[in-house]
Structures are given as structure tokens and as C-alpha cells.
Amino acid sequence: MTWPKQAGRFARLDRGQEPWTGSLEGLGTVLVHADGRYEIEVDPEAVEGAALALEHGWAALLGQVRRGRALLMGSTMVAAARPGEALLVSGRVQEQAEICLDLAERGWCMLADTVTPADLTGPPVVAHPRGSPSLAPCHTRPDAVVTGRLLRAGGTAQVVPVEAAVEPATITARVVVVERGPRDHAGDTTVATVSGRRRLAAEYDVLAVRGPFDPPDPARALAQDLTVSRIPLGRLLWPSWRDRAENHRRSTMDDLVRWWDEARR
């Protein structure tokens, strides 16, 4: 299957030939084989950082898809105290990054940053290491704890040093982060468990790419959705940017870790 007739002028992906061939104009080309191996060819005129973008931003993810894995929208963190068990954090990129950095300060390791390769043939859902450097939007936590370096000139992401987890882990719980607002009362539970049919609501949908790319038959697609929806799901109220006092954030993270500890059982 190839990219639709109106191929992109910047991004092109041809899945109708072997290996899959993708190109980003001005950066280069990626070739991804059926076993997930990939090669990268950088344009001679490409600016600095093109190789990194092609590999970690694209080829590595395509390789995961070719290995039959799905891609989930969210970052996956593994607690040092419970190797083999992971928490998937979804929501806006900014809030995800803040929460993962806070977890990292508590000794957690990052298995996958923002996009998580996962095996959905279970249950359980097994997350695999993404193997790419961790990124955060620039201006995330501009305090001394995070000293990222700009990923690329002209870009707006910074590389942040986070301990990486290298072994696959079972996602035993997941949270979707929403910003706390004036209608959320101070006494509202920081992490509320989402149960029943609500787990299938669009706002909690994290399945970005079903492995493989081509949509599977409806029965298989439903099975994948149910597999993901079986994971205990929490809705995390993250302090509004107007109220990001240090102690407020710390107490929210305490609540999150406590919730995960309960939910995973």
C-alpha cells in the first residue's frame, strides 16, 4: 500500500515496496526492512541534526511497526522498585514531560518517550523500549534540575538526561493528564479511576498505530481496543500553570504514585 495519490511534498512513505522507503525533503531517506532493521541516508545539503531526526524520529518507530508492534500515544515509565511493571502517561506533550521528569527524580526510568511501542497480542500489554533520547519541550521546568540542550537548531525540543529502562515491561496502569481548572474543586481527587465504558471514550484513546499499519479486520481492531481498555485507567488533574507551586506539584505526584500502586494490583 502506498501513500495516497497526493503524496506529500515534504514527507513521503512508500509501503508498497520492500524495504519500505520514506523520505523527508531536505533531510534524507529511511529504508526499513521487514525484520525492523533500518538504514538512513542523509541529504548532503541537510542541516545539522538531520540524521538524529531521521533515525529517532522516524526510522526507529517504523522499525517497531514492521516488527508487528503497535504505537501508543504516551510515555512509559518503569518504577525502580517494580522492574517489569510500567505506567503509561498520556496527554499533552508538555504535561507528559513534566510528570515523567518528576517520576525520574523519584527513581523511575523511562522506557519510551511520548510514543510507546507495544505488543497488543495479549493481554497483558507489553511496552518495549523506544531506544531514543528523551525529549521535552523547551522551557519545561527551567530550573536547575533539568538542564537540557536544544535538540536541533530551529527546533523547540530539548534533550533531557533521564535514566533509560532497557527491558520490556508490562503496562499495569495508565493515566491521562488533564489540566486542573477553576471548576475542579480543591478537594477533588487528584487521580480519579475511570471505569466501565468511559474507558473507551475518544479522549482516552491512545492507540495511534495498530501493528501493522494497514487496519486489521474489525474484529481484530476491537480486540486491540479492548486489550488496551483493560488496563486500569486514571484521570490525573495536573496543577494549572497558574498554580504550579512546588508543594502542589509534589503532592500531586505523591497521589499519582499511590494511585498507581493501588491500580496495578
Binding site: 506529500g8 514527507a11 524520529g57 522516524w58 504505537l71 511520548t114 530551529g154 471548576r183
Partner: protein, 603 residues
């Protein structure tokens, strides 16, 4: 999708203009009641989101640069597989390439013409939009009105998976989607028409963009998403498009003309001043008369210029380093000049209204502290623009006249006088007669070829309500001074940095006994006596300069230029006569020409 059959139909609108309602109608056309959900309203993600690259390409856009992100956006928009119209919501203003794209090179289209079939452009009375914005974004009414007039944009940020999202002002947004700018058909619908006759307003546009729908089906869909039904649906389930900072429901009254009760008169004037031209183009009638519109426009323009800089900002050419930091209540080893001013060698501490304090050191450094509880009470720029500058200039050895100084190309004219004499009012009024305001209140005399010249700098002019009215400014729409000083600040155009030779000093006095304005050229020692109270700066000048140096400087000033006493009766109805009198002085000074350079000494 192919080039021959582009499918995207943009639902383009400034926020809070009814696009969600239209999307709900479109959803109701597609699905039955049992499947209708607030969370899956027609039109998916907005085009600025790059997250779609992950499911479509397995490409993580955070690894891209800003320009690469904009190019990817264009590709993502073009990716569609539906044969029929694909409605996509956007609040962005229309443009043919990203803002600031390199000139001369063809940028990627944010709204690619090869994918765009048409646009349905929704517009709504900006006065109602302002009210609705407050509830949606949790803003105050003032904030909402200012936002509608601000051409700010969220920059492209691939690190957050977004491209730029420029709304523009309400006016530039509306004009951008006018047909002549857009390379595909645009069907404009006014919210008010949609509200009154939704089927009649919507059907032609939907038919034109290729959505086959009969009137009866459309009417049924409209009925299904009536406002009270949407409100009930929102109560039953959280609506995820409701802004996190909003305490109000998303679906409120949706009424037309609610601004008449919800928007205070001064903000009605503000909205109309900001947008009256486009309002007229779209058929929205302003209620403010022309003169008031002009007064409000001037006030709003001034306020915008004022807010561009932090309150501690002073122009670079003054050479003053201003820092906000704690200031002691008293100065060690100091001599009190009066109840609120202390001086020591090279240092001056002033305690200001509202509990603010400023410490000025060696003519180059200013520390200023404002009390935390009162910080939000208004504008604090006056704490650095006034006394701090005056004290610094005195520390540098300059005389500082308590005067507003203007210029009309022939040299500077200083308007001195006691508080309430009308210096600032007269100076601002003279702007309408082609004058330039060099500085208000702190007229620093510097030596240029051994002749006094006034050092200009941009600062706010403080006007009481009556004075603002007299000079044609909408007082309520000017930034108000903090600490309940009962005045607002007006910022004229930047006067530049070059000192302007002083041509004359006019001393205004409200004690005139006759009913007329009278001018008198003052001679002899009376000049010094007349200028003295306006040069002492309430004792600060002789204390800092030293009595001898102060007197020498004052005498030199008084003998260098004509000094004119202008007596006016109390009351405001003499402004025109005052302006005419000052005009006369200016003309005379201009006729006499700039002062000649003194001959070199020695033979």
C-alpha cells in the same frame, strides 16, 4: 483525495463565533440521536496539530525544526481519504504561507489550496464575542477585549507538536477570510443570521460545498442540537473542548446582543474603537459616536504602546539601570529634605504614594520597590519615570524643571507651573496642533554649545478625568495609575533622544483675576523669582546640586531664554485661549530663530 477533487472545507471563525454549534449540526446530520456525542463533533483536530503524523507516518514531529513542522502540516492537511466534503475547524486567520517565512521563497501553504474545496467563514458581533471569551477562557472583560485587539500568535513549536496558530485581531481575522484573499470559495455566515434562521443561513453554504442535504433533514438536525439540548448533554457528560481555565459551561446562552447588558459602556467603546471599520463592513452598527470613537482610539493606541514595555523600563539613552528590589525605608547618614525625601552624597531615597520607594545612586542606578498587596492596583511606571529620573539627573549636575516641554520644529518650549496649572493638559492638547511632546514633568536642562537644551524621553503623561476629556481622550480606556492616584497615563509618540535647544519658558498660573488669558514677558530678576518654585523640585535640587550650583544654574537658565508668564482664570473653558497664547509664543520664538552660538573667548 486528488487534485481534481479537493475535499477539505474549512470551518473558519474567530473563537466563540458559533463554529461548535455548526459542528454539532453537521454531526447530527451524520448520526442518529443514540450515537450523537459531544466528544466526537465533526471536524477532528485543528490543522496546527502535528500529532497526526504519528498514526499516519509513525513520524514523531518533535524531532523536526519549525520550518520542517510547517511543511509537514501542509502534507498532513492534504492527507485525506474521504470523497465528500471533510469539515475541519480552524480559528486561525487565513494566510498563504507561514508568518515570517523567508521572503522570496515559496512557503508551504497552511491551508493548502490543492486540498481545500472551500471555506465556511462564521463571523459574530465582536461585542458578543468579547463577553463569550471571558467565560470560555476564564478572562476578565478587559482581558478579553485586549486579546481581540492583539495580533499575537502562538509560535510554531514542534517540541509540543504544534505549528503556529495566528488568530490575528478580530478585525484582521475577519478580513483575512474575505474572498479576494483566498484561493478557494468562501461562504460567509453571520452568527446572528444563523441564530435567527439557521436552516436558511446554513443550507446554501452546505450545498455549495457539496454536502447533499435536504431542508427537512437539516431542520431536524438543527432541532436535535438546540441550545437547551446541548446544555443538557454537557451536564450529562464532560465536554472536553471546554477550556480548563473556564468555570462556566461551554454552552451558555448563545444569544444575540447580550453585550448590551453584559459589556460595560467603556468596553463597548473600546471594542468599537478597535474594530469599527470591519464591523461596518460586516453590517454591525457601532453605538459610539464619531468623536467618542476617536477619543477611545487614541486612548487604546496609547495603552497598547504603554503595555509593550515592562513598568520598570526607561529609554536606553538615559543611561539608567533600573532594578526592582527591596529598598530601605531610610538612608544611612542622610539629610531629610522633606517628609518623604532623604539625600546623602551620591544617594537619594524617595518614599512615594502607595508605599513605593526608590533609591537613586550616583545618577546611574535606580532600585525601586512597590508593595506587593498594591501591585495589581494599576500602573507603577510613574515611580521610575518621574522622581527617579529627576533625582538621577540632579545627581549628574543638571537642573530639572517641573515642566512639560513641547517642540514644533523651532526649538523647545517648556510649560512650567504648579500642580493643577494645566501643564500636561496644555502639552497634550498641543499635539493636535502639530507639536511633539519632548517630555512631561521632568524637563532636564543639558548644555548644548553653552545653551540650555531639553533632554527628551518617552514617558507617560498623567491626566485627571476632566483633563483627559478636554484633550479628546477616553479617560476610562487609558491605563490608570496605581495607588489610587486618580489619574490615567497617556503615552504620546517617542520624541527621540536628541536634546532640543530651549527657546522659551512659559509659566502657567491659574490665578488670573480677569476672565481672559493674559501673557506677559517677564524681565529682570523677576525671571529668576518666577522660575524658582518650578526648579527646586520641592527642595531636592538645592540639596543635591548644592545651593550655589543650583542658583547659578537657575540664573543661567533664566537669562538664556525668554520667560513668559501666562495667567489664566480658574475653570476649564479657557484651554483654547491658552493654546492660542502658547502658539503665539512658539511662533515668536520660531521667528527669532535658534540662539546663535556664543563667540569664542579670547582675542
Amino acid at each position: 483525495m486528488s487534485d481534481d477533487h479537493p475535499s477539505v472545507v474549512w470551518l473558519a471563525s474567530y473563537p466563540k463565533s458559533g463554529s461548535t454549534w455548526v459542528r454539532a449540526i453537521l454531526s447530527a446530520l451524520r448520526v442518529g440521536d443514540d450515537l450523537f456525542s459531544l466528544d466526537v463533533l465533526t471536524s477532528g483536530s485543528q490543522p496546527f496539530s502535528l500529532a497526526g503524523a504519528i498514526p499516519l507516518l509513525a513520524l514523531d514531529p518533535r524531532w523536526l525544526s519549525r520550518t520542517e513542522g510547517e511543511r509537514l502540516r501542509s502534507d498532513l492537511v492534504c492527507q485525506t481519504t474521504t470523497p465528500g466534503p471533510l469539515f475541519r475547524k480552524t480559528h486561525e486567520r487565513f494566510r498563504t504561507q507561514p508568518t515570517g517565512w523567508e521572503e522570496g521563497s515559496e512557503g508551504p501553504e497552511p491551508f493548502p489550496s490543492r486540498a481545500s474545496r472551500a471555506a465556511i467563514h462564521l463571523v459574530r458581533d465582536p461585542r458578543d464575542v468579547a463577553v463569550s471569551l471571558t467565560h470560555h477562557f476564564g478572562l476578565t472583560l478587559d482581558e478579553a477585549v485586549d486579546r481581540m485587539a492583539a495580533d499575537e500568535a502562538t509560535r510554531a513549536d514542534p517540541g509540543r507538536m504544534v505549528t503556529e496558530q495566528p488568530w490575528g485581531t478580530w478585525s484582521t481575522h475577519a478580513r483575512s477570510w474575505a474572498q479576494e484573499n483566498v484561493p478557494f470559495p468562501v461562504h460567509r455566515i453571520r452568527y446572528e443570521d444563523l441564530h435567527a434562521h439557521p436552516v436558511e443561513a446554513l443550507h446554501p453554504a452546505l450545498t455549495a460545498v457539496g454536502l447533499e442535504v435536504d431542508l427537512a433533514s437539516l431542520a431536524a438536525a438543527v432541532e436535535r442540537v438546540s441550545l437547551d439540548r446541548l446544555q443538557r448533554a454537557e451536564l450529562a457528560q464532560e465536554f472536553r473542548e471546554r477550556h480548563p481555565h473556564s468555570a462556566a459551561p461551554f454552552f451558555r446562552r448563545g444569544q444575540v446582543g447580550g453585550w448590551r447588558t453584559d459589556l460595560p459602556a467603556r468596553l463597548v467603546r473600546a471594542v468599537e474603537a478597535d474594530h469599527h471599520e470591519v464591523m461596518a463592513e460586516l453590517g454591525y452598527t457601532a453605538v459610539t459616536d464619531r468623536a467618542d470613537l476617536k477619543a477611545t482610539t487614541r486612548a487604546r493606541d496609547s495603552g497598547r504602546r504603554h503595555r509593550r514595555r515592562p513598568w520598570t523600563h526607561l529609554p536606553d539613552h538615559l543611561g539608567l539601570d533600573v532594578r526592582e528590589r527591596p529598598v530601605p525605608r531610610h538612608l544611612a547618614d542622610s539629610r531629610p529634605v522633606n517628609a518623604w525625601l532623604e539625600v546623602a552624597p551620591g544617594h537619594a531615597l524617595v518614599r512615594l504614594v502607595g508605599g513605593a520607594r526608590a533609591l537613586v545612586r550616583e545618577g546611574h542606578s535606580v532600585d525601586v520597590e512597590v508593595p506587593e498587596p498594591a501591585r495589581a492596583s494599576g500602573d507603577w511606571a510613574w515611580t521610575v519615570q518621574g522622581w527617579a529620573v529627576a533625582l538621577a539627573m540632579l545627581q549628574r549636575g543638571h537642573l530639572v524643571l517641573h515642566a512639560a516641554t513641547i517642540d514644533r520644529g523651532g526649538g523647545a518650549l517648556a510649560l512650567a507651573g504648579r500642580s493643577g496649572a494645566g501643564k500636561s493638559t496644555t502639552a497634550v492638547a498641543l499635539l493636535e496642533r502639530g507639536c511633539r511632546l519632548l517630555v512631561d514633568d521632568v524637563s532636564t536642562m543639558v548644555d548644548v554649545h553653552r545653551h540650555p537644551a531639553v533632554l527628551p524621553y518617552l514617558r507617560g503623561v498623567h491626566l485627571a478625568p476632566d483633563a483627559a476629556r478636554l484633550v479628546g481622550l477616553d479617560y476610562e480606556n487609558l491605563p490608570h495609575l496605581a495607588a489610587a492616584r486618580g489619574k490615567a497615563t497617556f503615552l504620546a509618540d517617542d520624541p527621540g533622544t536628541t536634546p532640543v535647544p530651549l527657546q522659551a519658558v512659559v509659566v502657567l498660573d491659574r490665578s488670573g483675576s480677569s476672565g481672559e488669558v493674559q501673557t506677559r514677558v517677564v524681565t529682570g530678576a523677576e525671571r529668576v523669582a518666577l522660575l524658582l518654585p518650578h526648579a527646586t523640585r520641592e527642595g531636592a535640587a538645592p540639596a543635591i546640586l548644592g545651593p550655589d550650583a543650583f542658583f547659578r544654574g537657575l540664573t543661567r537658565l533664566a537669562t538664556s531664554v525668554p520667560v513668559v508668564a501666562l495667567a489664566r482664570p480658574a475653570g476649564d473653558d479657557t484651554l483654547i485661549a491658552v493654546l492660542d497664547a502658547v502658539d503665539g509664543v512658539l511662533r515668536q520664538a520660531s521667528d527669532e530663530g535658534p540662539p546663535a552660538s556664543p563667540p569664542p573667548k579670547g582675542g
